[in-house]
Structure formats: structure tokens, C-alpha cells
Symmetry: C2
Subunit: 218 residues, 2 copies
DNA sequence: AAAAAACTATGTCAAATGACACACTAACAA
DNA sequence: TTGTTAGTGTGTCATTTGACATAGTTTTTT
């Protein structure tokens, strides 16, 4: 049994795809809107790109990938929250990220270099995901310089976001970061347990509880 | 004084024409060796790519870029240590990274989106740098799918390194991370002041001093 | 060489934190 | 419904940390 306890089942591919037409429309809505934030693609191009992904719906508790596995796919989270974590040398579960859609999610190290992952990822809410396989990804970036640069742009933006997060951690106190989370990611506060949020912020559940209490009184 | 500060000089093509051969050989040594770690380029390609960069030598204390400036270049550090930092809301200087060549260094947010930088970067030792301008960078990634994917690979690897660093911080104690630094980056330990290393590790100079003392006795 | 500036070592002390402990609550499976 | 498991709220206590203060050292500037 996995760490999330009973009632958790593995994602089966294809189970959710019943209507090709509807599928394309759904993919259009979330994925294509996201592509728009890069402001470079025509309608046809966005449509083509979105159709490289396969839509799937998963229930809370479903693992997307697990330690030991080679992650050969990229997830785009349309809607939902994913818990990305690993275990340290003392067997403690440490949160690496809380993905709050719309955004991408994978173990890049495993995906890019074909290594076995040391990380796991589990849905913390019912989620709508779009899966891009490595085969399709490779075909895409090698087909055309436009796609190559588009993907480069996505990776670049992810890196910028990451650098920004590191800067934020360096510059702000735990309490400031918690309050910022409350302000900017209410979905995470509402759907994720205190101990996971604590581990995401790099502290203990007791300390986060103290911060929370301080702000309930005030 | 120019934006690079005192003691900084640019090696112009005019200046390098007097010894084109030697210049190319130098660029070859460090940059091309680095490209090899990606294992995808022919000799001619590596030579071509290396020559997109301009070599320059800076003295300890030279600023490479500063807060308020638009960073329109990427540095490749052949040899040397760079201090990448910013100031938080309390005016405290916080270290974002200590770059230990060979590696790339820029403010990606500023470079990529043309925004004014909130960060600064200063050489902590005499350094050999190779500068790639944004104009040349853009020309490169738009010229050929091979270059586009090559650059994508560099950004991707930088992101993987970053993710790894975040994972490391989440999973290890301050003391473990300090000892790892001693083991893996002796140049940083030897050349960087205690307070900057402390800020790089996210702690105070007093606490780092205590760790250091514990390990002198033992 | 002298003066100034930056840095390190170290002690004290108050505040923050994590480790435990335990009661209580919520979610869930049988 | 009932037992089990995960999770929260909260107190105590020992440890760690950061803030200050200060003396000594190193580096840089003049």
C-alpha cells in the first residue's frame, strides 16, 4: 500500500477518452489558453500542439509517477493539485513542490536522461491532466525550429519561475512566505493538509500551526 | 566609468585581431570542453559556437551586472568565482548563487524578457569570462534547429541542476550542506568570505562559525 | 606605513524551533 | 456503524538560532 493509504488506485490510460470531438474541445480550452500566454502560435498551431496531448481524469490519491520508475511523460495539469515529493536519508517525506494547475509537471531529470526517478507525485484533488509522451515530445522538438524554440521557451520560463522561487525563499521569512501562499494560492491552502504545506515551506507542522494561530487571533 | 565598473575591459575584435589564432585556441580550451559534456557537436560546430563568444578577463571585485540594468548578455565563466546576490526589503544582501566556473551565468529573467534586473553579480576572484550577447544568442537559436535544440539542452540542464539544488536543500541539514560544499567546491571555501558562504547556505555568519568550529575540533 | 574598512571569533541572552506527548477530530474502509 | 488511520491542536522542554556586543585580525585604501 502506498503512503496515501487505502482507496488509492493507479491511473489507467485510455479509460477517460470516450469522445474524440469532445476531447479536442476540452484540450483546446485549457491547454490552448495556456499556450496563449506565450503569444506566438496561430490557432492551427495551437490546435496541432494541443492534440499531441492525451486527456485524462484522475481521482484524489492517484499516483502520477513513483520512485524507481522512469518518467517518460510530461503532465500538463489543467485543473487540480499535485503533491511532488521524495524521501530523505531518514525516511522522512519531503515536499519538493505543490503543483497548482494550469502548469506542467514531470521529473525532468528522469524524463530528460532516462534515469529512474527518486521522486513521486500524487494527485491531492480530482484532477484533469493532459499527458505528452516522450516519443511525441521528441518528434515535436525535432520536427521544426518553431516547435523547438517554443519548447525552449517553456523550459526557460519554468527555470525563471524556479529561480524566482529560490530568490523568494532567500529574501523572505517563513511567515511572509506562508501569508503569500494564502494570498496567491488559496486552492492549496484549502485542499492540502497542514503537514504537507509545512513540509513545502520547509518547516514542521507545529511551527506552521503556531503561525496559523497567530493569524487567527489577529 | 562604464557599466562593468572599474578595472573591467572588453576584448574587442580589434584587439584580438593581433592574435586571432591564440584567441581561438583559448576559447577552444574551456568553452569547447564544456560543449563536449553535451556530446552532440562536431569540431567545426564547436569552433563556430565558441567563436560567438567574446573572451574577457576581469579582476576580483568587478561587477558583471548590477541592479537596475537590463542584462543583455550571457556569461560563460571559464575560470573564477562570481557572487550573484540581491537586496531584500530590509536592505540585507542575500546571496542567490555562487557560480564556480565552468558554468553559465546571467540574470535569465532580465535577459529573456528585457526587464531591469533586481540582482547584481560581482567577481570574487580574477576570472576568465566568455560573453555572448543577446543579439548573437537570438541569431543562433533562430538560425538552425540544431542550435535551438542545443541551447534548449543547456537551459534544460540548468533547470535540472536547479531542481536538484532545491531537493538537496529540502532533504539535508545545514551542516550536511556545508560539509558537502567543503567536499565538492573547495575553491568556494578557499576564496569566499564566511559571511557570503553563510548567506549562500541561508544562515547567519555566527551559526556557520559554530558549525566550522565543531569540525575544527573533531 | 598608517588609517580605515571589512571580516572573524566568541560570549551572552532572548526568541524560535523541533521533538515528544497526548487528546481530540475527520476521513474512510469493512 | 464501528474500528482504524491520518491529521490537528496544544502544552512542555531541550536545543538551535539570530541579534548584539566586542575584541582581535586581515585587507584595502590613502
Amino acid at each position: 500500500m502506498n503512503v496515501y493509504g487505502r482507496g488509492f488506485f493507479r491511473l489507467t490510460y485510455g479509460a477517460s477518452i470516450c469522445n474524440e470531438q469532445l476531447f479536442n474541445l476540452n484540450v483546446m480550452k485549457t491547454l490552448q489558453n495556456f499556450f496563449d500566454t506565450f503569444g506566438e502560435l496561430s490557432s492551427d498551431e495551437k490546435f496541432y500542439l494541443a492534440n499531441q496531448f492525451e486527456e485524462t481524469h484522475v481521482k484524489k490519491g492517484t499516483p502520477l509517477f513513483e520512485e524507481g520508475e522512469v518518467v517518460d511523460r510530461i503532465y500538463f495539469i489543467g485543473e487540480g493539485i499535485l503533491h511532488h515529493f521524495n524521501y530523505n536519508d531518514f525516511g522522512e517525506r519531503k515536499t519538493l513542490d505543490l503543483h497548482d494547475g494550469p502548469c506542467f509537471c514531470t521529473d525532468l531529470h528522469s524524463f530528460s536522461e532516462g534515469k529512474r526517478s527518486e521522486e513521486s507525485c500524487v494527485a491531492l484533488s480530482d484532477s484533469t491532466l493532459y499527458v505528452l509522451t516522450k516519443a511525441r515530445y521528441n518528434a515535436l522538438i525535432n520536427s521544426n525550429i518553431k516547435w523547438s524554440n517554443f519548447v525552449k521557451g517553456i523550459i526557460e520560463r519554468t527555470l525563471i519561475k524556479m529561480l524566482d522561487q529560490v530568490k523568494n525563499t532567500a529574501n523572505k521569512s517563513l511567515e511572509e512566505r506562508y501569508l503569500e501562499l494564502v494570498r496567491t494560492k488559496p486552492k492549496i491552502i484549502q485542499n492540502v493538509s497542514l503537514r504537507v504545506i509545512a513540509s513545502y515551506l520547509g518547516t514542521s507542522r507545529e511551527t506552521l500551526h503556531r503561525i496559523r494561530r497567530r493569524h487567527l487571533v489577529a
